[in-house]
């Protein structure tokens, strides 16, 4: 029983379906995607369209080939495709993007049983696959035709001062280099507010994630502790907003229990802090989230809510007194 559902009864039917949730997520991602297209131009548009199309097609062909029910109409493959496109630089060769899409849908999602069964977020797993496979292509960021460092690379402890400077306003609006969908904190927040208002995502994961990360950076960032400006720059830079609101909150790969959500978010925040401050590369959001994804079954097991009116068995109390 608890293998399938950890919440206690009574249950009631919700009008939400996978399809309606995915439509809302697509809608919520639209501002950031549109900004990405505005910011990086036609190459970004092409990559978003290709990525969505390849993901949907890969899922359709795989399910037809394996004689399984075709589920592309629920929109989850389209969301994966859009998320992956938003997580790559606009200069990534299309062939590599297609390889990432196929990896996300076939290897991460379908081989483990399709929607609801994948053990990590397919879009993020594919991003990490691409990052490990083609590090040069995945980290060569170009903005306005010049090769440029991302804000995070400039902020990284120990970075050369010659890399440039960061403008918080540009970061917030998104007029900087980076992946297609991560640059504009503002556009991402608009989508996040929509999802929160529609109750599609719980506030717990993003709050615990961003909160933990912010506290750690504020107090412990090497060379920048108690530096509010640095903190704001770290929060708006890189994939933190995209990851915290849109990827860590994925239903399949995050805990169902309220306490579990807080632990999961805090863990991802802690890991992001460690990776960004002490790791080798400037960004750490994707690795932090997929690492936390792997611990979700354990977190859920540890945080099963107590049924209403539950009392501790008398026995253990008596045994405790005796000892």
């Amino acid at each position: 029983m608890d293998e399938f559902n950890v919440s206690a009864n009574p249950h009631f039917r919700s009008p939400m379906t996978t399809g309606s949730i995915m439509r809302d997520v697509l809608l919520a991602l639209t501002p950031a995607a549109l900004f990405g297209i505005y910011n990086f131009g036609a190459p970004a548009l092409i990559r978003i369209v290709v990525s969505i199309a390849v993901c949907v097609l890969a899922e359709y062909l795989f399910q037809r080939g394996m004689k399984r029910p075709v589920t592309v109409s629920d929109g989850s493959a389209a969301v994966t495709g859009l998320l992956l496109a938003m997580n790559i630089p606009s200069t990534l060769p299309i062939a590599m993007l297609i390889a990432g899409d196929v990896f996300a849908i076939i290897i991460v999602k379908q081989l483990f049983g399709g929607i609801g069964q994948n053990f990590m977020n397919p879009a993020l797993a594919a991003r990490c696959f691409l990052l490990i496979s083609f590090p040069a292509a995945m980290t060569g960021f170009v903005y306005n035709g010049v090769s440029s460092a991302t804000p995070l690379a400039i902020l990284k402890p120990g970075a050369d001062a010659a890399e440039g400077t960061v403008s918080l306003a540009a970061e917030f609006l998104g007029t900087t280099g980076g992946t297609i969908g991560e640059t504009s904190a503002l556009a991402l927040l608009i989508g996040a507010v929509y999802l929160l208002a529609r109750r599609e995502i719980s506030w717990r994961i993003p709050a615990a994630y961003i909160g933990t990360f912010a506290i750690l950076v504020f107090f412990l960032a090497p060379g920048h502790s108690f530096d509010a400006l640095y903190l704001a720059e770290e929060l708006c830079g890189g994939g933190l907003m995209l990851g915290a609101f849109f990827m860590a909150t994925d239903y399949v790969t995050s805990p169902d229990t309220p306490a579990g959500k807080l632990i999961f978010g805090a863990l991802a925040g802690f890991l992001t802090f460690i990776f960004r401050m002490f790791g080798g590369s400037a960004e750490g959001v994707s690795y932090a989230i997929i690492f936390s994804n792997l611990l979700v079954p354990l977190i859920e097991r540890a945080t099963v809510p107590k049924p209403f009116g539950y009392r501790k068995p008398e026995k253990t109390e008596a045994a405790g007194k005796e000892a």
Partner: protein, 224 residues
């Protein structure tokens, strides 16, 4: 006499088939995963590791089978380890002296053949209970099975991860130009090894199952 010879030959064949296909150590028994995942970054490495292990397996199975009445049951594990470790050291000396390039690329994994589960596993499960000839054939079959899977794994990983075919580090039989295919690094790293291995196991299982189904259908037809 002739009968006995024939049964020996057929037993040897059975052992070879068992090691290479039916109970392939890598793909069915899932033994020796450390060298399997670590050294198969290229086909040549896979062949080198596989053949070194085959030599050790053949000799260790033969020796242990010969000594199976001499080795006391209670100290058999230390005895096996001494024999296997000596054989591995001999192979290491020979490789270092005469094939230094291969020795360099296999590096730390040669001494690790000692603790390769396949070798101790076959000594314990087969050689210690069976006569010399079938034991030797069992070692050879298992070794060749290991070599085959490592070579296939290495070939696929090398092609996808480095864009070369049968490269020995300096030159390759052919190299895919960078303009056509950018090698995906992940395949020469650990995650790629797991992914490719999983696909090979899945394909082998499917082929074997299809064969069995076909045979079952045929035998049903015959009996009907």
């Amino acid at each position: 006499m002739a009968d006995k010879k024939e049964s020996m030959a057929s037993r040897g064949r059975e052992r070879l088939y068992n090691g290479i296909i039916k109970e392939n150590p890598t793909l069915v028994l899932i033994l020796g995963m450390c060298p399997t995942l670590a050294v198969t970054t290229s086909a040549i490495n896979g062949i080198g590791m596989g053949l070194s292990t085959t030599v050790v397996l053949l000799l260790s199975n033969t020796l242990i089978s010969m000594l199976r009445k001499f080795i006391p049951d209670r100290v058999r594990m230390p005895a096996y380890i001494v024999i296997v470790a000596s054989l591995v050291t001999v192979v290491q000396f020979l490789l270092e002296a005469y094939v230094p390039d291969l020795y360099d690329s296999l590096g730390i994994y040669i001494p690790l053949i000692v603790v390769n589960c396949i070798i101790l596993g076959r000594a314990e499960a087969y050689a210690s209970k069976n006569p010399v000839f079938p034991s030797a054939m069992d070692g050879l079959g298992m070794g060749l099975g290991f070599t085959c899977s490592l070579t296939i794994l290495g070939m696929i990983r090398e092609l996808l991860g480095a864009g070369t075919f049968l490269s020995d580090g300096a030159s390759a039989v052919f190299t895919i130009p960078q303009s056509v295919y950018t090698p995906a690094n992940i395949f020469i790293l650990a995650p790629g090894a797991f992914i490719v291995l999983a696909f090979i196991i899945a394909i082998r299982n499917r082929v074997i199952r299809k064969n069995q189904e076909k045979k079952a259908r045929e035998s049903r037809k015959e009996s009907a």
